[in-house]
Symmetry: C2
Subunit: 202 residues, 2 copies
Amino acid sequence: MHTPYHHGDLPNALRRAAEEVITEKGLGNFSLREVARRAGVSHAAPCHHFGDVRGLLTSLATEGFEVLCRVTSEAASRETDPSERLVAIGEAYVALAAQYPAHCQVMFRVDVVDQSDQRLMDAGLRAYGVLRDTVADLISSENLKVDLDNTTNLCWSAMQGLVELQPKLDHLDELLGRPAVDTRERIRRFTELILNGVRSHV
Amino acid sequence: MHTPYHHGDLPNALRRAAEEVITEKGLGNFSLREVARRAGVSHAAPCHHFGDVRGLLTSLATEGFEVLCRVTSEAASRETDPSERLVAIGEAYVALAAQYPAHCQVMFRVDVVDQSDQRLMDAGLRAYGVLRDTVADLISSENLKVDLDNTTNLCWSAMQGLVELQPKLDHLDELLGRPAVDTRERIRRFTELILNGVRSHV
DNA sequence: CTGTTAACTTGCCGATGTCAAGTTGTCACT
DNA sequence: AGTGACAACTTGACATCGGCAAGTTAACAG
């Protein structure tokens, strides 16, 4: 049995600590040394495993895409109707954003992540594939005349934009004196509009 | 005539320098001291005017929303048909993202900007209002049965998501062996899909 | 028991953000 | 014109940061 030094799996412990720090203090106040402190190791230990602060964050982003891939797959497999699957994927996506805020803050941040990392790219592609496959099913099952990639991209962009603008939208509702809208409800309404769009396409 | 110290308007010179640094080195490698260096002032001068690194970036973000408000208004005023106006606003938005990348990197970044800043909030609201007014015109002119705020939010989310995912989408096209798609073209296709959606809503 | 290698630690460097205290222009008022 | 007040900076200091280099310790193979 391996019991190397302090942890059984320091890389993972460092990811957990990083997640904690980002969730608490935000990505702007993120520091490698604080991560090391929380994991109970020296300040240079993270660099040994991840080489770089980018390396650690890239690893966290990769983990995020893997989780995204898993939860969207599971959500999709619970529904049989393709359009319901699309809604389920959207809901799973925003649920992930709520449950793993740290990961989501990192996953699409081109400037803090190593875009040339192979594992990150693979995980991202697999997650994209889940959405794309569902849209493909929807198109073929209803014999729609829309472009697969274009529609997939619109769905993804709308979800991504929603996740990012969420606090701003909530604040707007408040300012405009509108009743608060749940994010799940927002996703459902978005999907409804988009579905109408692709269905009426000629 | 005012000629205080070195510059006629140091706050603005600092914003320009900040824009330059962010565009060149990215927000991750942004540093107040480098901004001061480029503006030819001491390292603490920025803090005097903006109090904080957040203050400077918040000011930049506010400027970004003001420009966004201006260019979308102008773009909208050049078209008479509401649906064409919507497309024009989208195109103006992505054009802004291309022309002022530094501003756009900052405008929606909750973690680096002071969300409680009044001027920032005002500018953001005005920019949102341009889009909302256009959607309202569209709804009333075609007598559509969709919710104004919901539709506005979908448009904004899709645009916002597109701006953020743009590099990833381009990379995906490359990986999947698809021909490259211009971002203006993406916006046009998105708008088309969304328009179909709102028009066929019952 | 010894050698090798991976998993860390310790120490150091230049750079950064921010605070406190000085310094220097500028303008209002007499 | 002279004087005070005030704004616009500068200078200096401090804790902290990321990353590198060199040392130290643990585990395992032979």
